[in-house]
Amino acid sequence: MAELTYREAVAEGIAQEMERDETVVFLGEDIAKAGGVFKATVGLYDKFGPDRVRDTPISEQAILGAAMGAAMTGLKPIAEIMFSDFLAVCWDIVANQIAKIRYMTNGQVSMPLVIRTANGGGARFGAQHSQSVENWSMMIPGLKVVAPSTPADVKGLLAAAIRDPDPVMFFEQKSLYSSKGDVPEGEHIEEIGVAKVVREGSDVTIIALAAMVPRALDAADRLYSEAGISAGVVDLRSLVPLDTKTIFEQVEKTSRLVTVEENPRLCGWGAEISSIVAEERFWDLDMPIIRITTPHIPLPSADELEDMALPSVERIFETVRQGVD
């Protein structure tokens, strides 16, 4: 084990796969010589050179168009979209082309492509650079959607995404880049589509993703010490495929479900999970399913307002405490 930051784990995961497989290439804005605007790809250019680690013009459509062509013709590209907000200009390529190619060619053409992107708020970047948009990708058939919460999962899930024969949307949470954690040294790979129970609990299950996982864990600590409530926490890790098996097991156990989402409320991923659980585990529920989300607003850039908008430890604690009564 080595202690790495979330951002260092990104570079380590990419390097692991580029060393293993020479068809893996990496392209994006300022990712090469500059090491990425979030310094998540430092050292890759020096190690693998300009042919495999490429800076691109400031055109997200160009990045993904080139990456798509490369993937169709035998390479395994990793494309970086600097801020996930910018995916909005990419949807034709992502939703209509990348997600559909395998299906429309009857499996003759595969799309081993990873789109990495920095997602989420908390950094005072304003409404156009702070959105948590994992739910945008979740609703497009043909895409896998991954969002790790720890450095170890960044490395392991990024490796799995690169090896996956189909397109994977890989959301790195900006507010987690400086967080630290133990990361296995040497080759490390995780399975996409398996949620992780990061804290066992008997009274209520809190399902969280990415930056909401550490907040849910802190809230669970407080729920136990201040309110005597045993809250389990599930790190979902990927939205597609969705690990309903783990979700159901936890719902059967605690009969109470809370989701904590950074994405805005309407059509957030928690709504989908609520719907599935209400349909398939209705008779196990002992309280209404509760969703804790960012409200349906453009995210403010003012410090205090942004902090109020995003689900906080305090809000999770209070909501669960009152809900469990």
Binding site: W283, D286, D325
Partner: protein, 420 residues
């Protein structure tokens, strides 16, 4: 339409079809009694899921099949495109408002009707999982203490109740297995469900609780006087004989007021002491098994009321009409073996309770009594009352003091006044 073996409880995986009330070719109306089943927990009558003509019976009487198995095919006039439907043994609810807030997928008509209430008490707004558990275990929500907001019943409240009552010494007997022929001079009688459950519970009780037995000799003269004075009138009025048991039961409830720790459960590392006495009475089912139905809140009853409750429960037990609800909540158990002339019995505790009392034969004996400084030999009705207690929960002196109190009450209470 397929008629399926219904789910009768969370832990019940199979059931035995005991009686078909309709033969092939007969017409049955929706909700008319169609068949009866027995499980290790309960005997149950199941109504027809729909009206129609019995087309085929696939599971014969006496056969044991898994929950969900197809028992019969009912020609209900549809072309068969309707999916299989397990009988829903609940009566249909007439009132929509009730249906929205109080309908239950109940496992027995009696429970469903008990659970339907016209009011909007938050206590009665049952969550899905509570509804499911209540239905599966045939509970009446009115009897469940809710610990949630405004008294709402939570899943944990139901589970706690079920755990308190879970394994009993006693469940419904199911079928005789003594009519097997002998082969090579012996016959092998496989344990039926009630024997298996009893066996499992007895072994577990003995390995869980260090049992200590103590007995006291009790002079039943005062009780006897009441019985001989009022027995005939009682029998004429109540329709059953007045035996010693209600007096012992009342004395136990009185003594528990002073020694509440015998009226308790052991849960993990705690003794949970109950305010009210829910008194289980062991009832033998003609040597086919043992049940211990419960007199709820016996501590609030007079000896007369206890006598009526015991008679009612015993009659229902022997008629196989107990429901799982009759087994719930026991905090203390009395076993009565006196009718067979036993001197004393060393009973096994009905988990998770901490004590059980046995009454045995009461016979006339020569007894030395001291009067005015002189010893006199007199004839008195005397019996030994034995108690087994869990030494984890209480100690010998406490248990003995409790027994002494029971003895004192039986011997000195003004029973004439207690009985009309």
């Amino acid at each position: 339409m397929d008629v399926l073996m219904p789910q009768l409880g969370e832990t019940v995986a199979e059931g035995t079809l005991s009686i078909w009330h309709k033969n092939v070719g007969e017409r049955v109306e929706a909700n008319e009694l169609l068949f009866e089943i027995s499980t290790d927990k309960v005997e149950m009558e199941v109504p027809a899921p729909a009206g129609g003509v019995m087309k085929e019976i696939l599971v014969k009487e006496g056969e044991t099949v898994e929950v969900g198995a197809i028992l019969a095919i009912l020609d209900d006039g549809t072309d068969g495109s309707v999916g299989p439907i397990a009988p829903e043994p609940a009566p249909s609810l007439e009132n929509n408002a009730q249906h929205l807030t109080h309908s239950l997928p109940a496992a027995s008509p009696s429970v469903a009707s008990a659970a339907v209430s016209p009011n909007h008490d938050p206590r009665r707004r049952l969550s899905p999982v509570v509804r499911k558990l209540v239905a599966e275990h045939n509970l009446n929500p009115d009897n469940i203490d809710g610990s949630g907001l405004d008294g709402r019943i939570k899943k944990s409240d139901v589970l706690a109740l079920l755990q308190r009552n879970a394994p009993t010494t006693t469940d419904q007997a199911s079928g005789s297995s003594t009519s097997l022929p002998s082969v090579d001079g012996k016959k092998v009688i496989p344990f039926n469900r009630i024997r298996r459950v009893t066996a499992e519970h007895m072994v577990r009780s003995k390995s869980t609780s260090p049992h200590v037995h103590q007995g006291v000799e009790v002079d039943f003269s005062r009780v006897d006087r009441v019985r001989s004075d009022k027995g005939v009138a009682w029998r004429a009025r109540e329709g059953f004989s007045l035996n010693y048991l209600p007096f012992v039961a009342r004395a136990v409830c009185d003594a528990i007021v002073e020694f509440p720790h015998v009226n308790a459960h052991v849960e993990e590392n705690s003794l949970v002491v109950y305010d009210q006495v829910n008194l289980a009475i062991a009832v033998d089912l003609n040597f086919e098994g043992l049940v211990a139905p419960v007199i709820q809140n016996a501590s609030s009853m007079t000896a007369v009321e206890i006598a009526r409750s015991i008679a009612g429960l015993a009659a229902r037990a022997r008629a196989n009409q107990l429901t799982p609800g009759d087994h719930l909540g026991a905090t203390y158990t009395i076993s009565n073996n006196g009718s067979f002339g036993t001197l004393f019995t060393t009973p096994i505790i009905n988990q998770p309770q901490v004590a059980i009392l046995s009454t045995d034969s009461i016979t006339k004996r020569p007894v030395v009594v001291e009067q005015d400084g002189e010893d006199h030999l007199v004839i008195r009705p005397v019996g030994i009352v034995t108690q087994a207690f869990d030494h984890r929960a209480i100690d010998g002196a406490y248990a003995a003091a409790f027994l002494r109190k029971v003895k004192e009450i039986i011997e000195t209470k003004n029973w004439e006044a207690a009985l009309p």
